[in-house]
Amino acid sequence: MQNDRLAKGGRIDRTRPLRFTFNGRAYTGFAGDTLASALLANGVRLTARSFKYHRPRGIVGAGVEEPATMVELLGADASGNRPVTTVELREGLAARSVNCWPSPAVDLGAVAQLAARFIPAGFYYKTFKWPNWHLYEPSIRKAAGLAAAPKSPPVGGRYETRFAHADLLVAGAGPSGLMAALFAGRAGLRVMIADEGIEPGGALLSRRLSIGGRPALDWVAETVAELEAMGNVTLLRRATVWAYREHDYLLVTERAPDRTGLLERTWRVRAGHVITATGAIERGLVFGNNDRPGVMLASAVQSYVNRYGVAPGRRAVIFANNTSAYTVAADLAAAGIEVAAIIDSRSDVPAEARAAVPGLPIRAGYVVTTAHGGRSLRGVTVAPRDGGEAERLDCDLLAVSGGWNPAVHLFSQSRGTLRYDDSLASFLPGDAAQSTCAAGAAAGAMELEAALASGAAAGASVAGVMPPDTPTAPDLAYAVTPLWRVESARGKCFLDLQNDVTVEDVHLALREGYATVEHVKRYTTGGMGLDQGKTGNINITGTVALAQGVPMQAVGTTTFRAPYTPVSFGAVGGLRDGPLALPYRHTPLTAWNIAQGAVMYEAGARWRRPGYFPRPGEAMQDAIDREARAVREGVGVYDGSPLGTFEIKGRDAARFLDHIYTTVMSTLAPGAGRYGLMLSDDGLIFDDGVCFRLDAQRWIVSSSTGNADAVHRHMEMLLQTDLPDWSVFVTPVTAQWANATICGPKAREVLADLGTDIDLSPEAFPFMSLRDGMVAGLPARIVRVSFTGELSFEINVAPRHLPALWDRIMAAGAPHGILPVGSEANHVLRVEKGFLSLGHEVDGTVDPYDLGMGWAMSRKKPDYIGKRAVEIRRATGKMRHELVGIIPEPDVQIPEGAPLTPGGHRQASEGFVTACVKSVAQDRWVGLALVDDGHARHGEMAHVRLKGGKVIAVRITRPCHYDPDGERLRS
């Protein structure tokens, strides 16, 4: 039974009842309710337990500012820590309180109240030290943490992100925001206006005001209709502007947009101008037991009465330090709720305010010192502020208003300054840092007509038009005298309800030297809860200012950080999910590889490549052996398409290559190629590659697969910034040429069998040369390079031709036992040869000499990138890690990365094993290592020391375990 539902009124649909459960009990509300308003309508007052002391708590607010009651939603869309005031009611909703067990009424954690005296702010810094914190941690953690985290992704749908561009973004669709959007929209600007509420209107939804002589909500409806009819205006509901980044870039998350399967949509908005029309948030008052269920913000009470048709109490007391609460008293009285008294801490109540509440008793210069009742409010003690006789008033509802804080969060996030305004007793936007202005209550325009005018002026200003006249909208003039706390209070006085921070806690912090507002926040945890101190922070600042005897501005605020209200990670990630998050790069052979049963994985730079091709039941090592052996003894073929490939042309191309590689490239004849190392300015190896000259001004250059993008960027940056006069053009052609590389002693026979017009004889087509021609009927470019140490032909064709070429190669190679070769076997082959691999030997710390490749450092060229740095570093003669081969004795595998230490002792290492493979050529484990002074130690023994103390002796050799003179690759 909705006993506390008013007989009429409210923006709820009484024809559409909705059933829901809360803490396991069934209730009914109406469409248009929030969970909070429905609970109040059902007479539920005790809705939560507090975080630290487990004190009974009720509903305090009516919107995102709610500090006291967080609920956990159950069922398909389970999610925790939702302010009860922001949960829209729907059929079948199931929710429960967080922070109490088994229920708010019977909460076993409430024993904490007994110990309250001994657990002040920061008590945990002073105890739980012995034997160590980790022992206490599990029980402490259990007590914290509110709701459980979701156990699975939301079942109901997905998230998306969208870019938007707007001449003007208006945050907030209350009176000032609507006004701003209206005039900017009429002037033809592209306007986006976003409001966190279910429907536009802001504070007007909760009040009984008129605009231009008619109900204010009629004006809202007309304005919304006009805005929605404009093609240049986008009006978003349930959409929170939660972050204001640099360059007027803002994030807006729209909940439940009108699209099936879409949970939330985040708009990334680039705005020409931003108007923060974010309204104001009412603050509480600080007196004894100001947390009892039934103590509510006056504006929330007004909202429940007017917007939801709910009586949050039967007999109310109002406690305020400002005029706005008088309109609440008037609305309560109009709704038939008894107002026992208006307690006003000011001795002078403006006549206008008195006139707004004819017949209601006003106690000017009085304060509430304490609230009575446990699980529900039963009364308050009031007393003259300056001392005098106290008196108890019975009531079940206390509506408090400590004044209003303009919601400056977004303005502050934009890095605009804030200034404390004495007459409003709050912080207001000061100087803008971006194209930002505040309007309406967010700018301190606290009465409706001023808010409308402020919004109109802001909108007109952005549009560059004259500010229009705004309609009359009578409202009670706002006047406030700050009351940061009631000094004669008895009982716990809460500043931050959510984190249970009291005035005593703040005083303790100050007493102990935690004297800045940031220290107070961190020591007491005030303002660090889910509400981020929306209602309480200003009272903390005020309490500090009072205690220190300094002005509010000197105390200042803590930083306003994004997000304005909590935002789901799903809404941040958007569509970057699953296969879209990190797409693979594929060669044309992916499907073939998979069909062959290849084990596929990422092998750098997002390429999906075959690791090895196991036969049914075959072990990985056996498959690798088989593939490597085929290359050494017969023939194999691998897909080398991912190798970075660039066509470089222009008058200065040769000179450019001489500049970026250590070797001299410019002397090459057309058709010939050379290996080179690319150094960074720091003289460390950045990449290695091969350059082939096509003609006087054209080259084909290859880079390592993993570095292709970086090498391209490096070349372009040099050409465009450092060397703008050089005539060189770089075209990445990795995706234009796919290749199949046939390698092994039988490679030439297989290639000949494919049919080609190129003379394949070693004399006509020697190692490190390139020929264009036809292969298997396809136009092709064959390059004689070798990454395996065997005779190799890299057959480059258009990617669309690769599958056909591949099939022909497999057919032509079949008589020779050709095998496809995966990256694992390639690794074995290159380690046997001592060829470099990025990430193994080239780990960003080595120079060419370290690798025994001093020959690649041209002495003829006076300058090239990295040369000087290498000279400077080597001039010291300091010992360095140098590349060697290693042969484990006995013949065992050594884990890659294992350190070598002098004598195998447990001390600082002298190097490490970069690679260790089962050599098919030597039929034993061989490896490569970087070792101190390694080049001088060939033939010596060294020691690998593994974790746990196992020592493996290794013989140091030259870094080549196969065909050291390169006869086979030149054959």
């Binding site: 640099e246 006076p862 040369k867 000087r868």
Partner: protein, 85 residues
């Protein structure tokens, strides 16, 4: 996320660009430069609390490298070293 003026494409959002580091003085002539000066050129980049000259590449656009001044305190793109915001 910044809005970066590309000389060819106009103002574009930062996610289209790759950062290329602060602009160093031109590469000195190794033949005539003392070792300490070379090391200084190589390792000591400008790190001002204020406008810094830096490079960006319009990677997901026209591919151009461009140079701009950005205030490291605000990310405002400014005209030059004197244009502190």
């Amino acid at each position: 996320m910044m809005l970066i003026p590309c000389p060819f494409c106009g103002p574009r959002t930062e996610s289209e660009f790759a950062y290329g580091g602060p602009v160093r003085p031109p590469r000195p002539d190794p033949a005539t430069t003392a070792e300490a000066d070379w090391v200084g050129w190589l390792t000591e980049v400008p790190n001002p609390l204020g406008p810094v000259e830096e490079r960006w590449c319009h990677l997901r656009g026209c591919g151009s490298w461009l140079t701009l001044w950005r205030d490291t305190r605000t990310h405002a793109i400014v005209g030059g070293p004197q244009d502190a915001e």
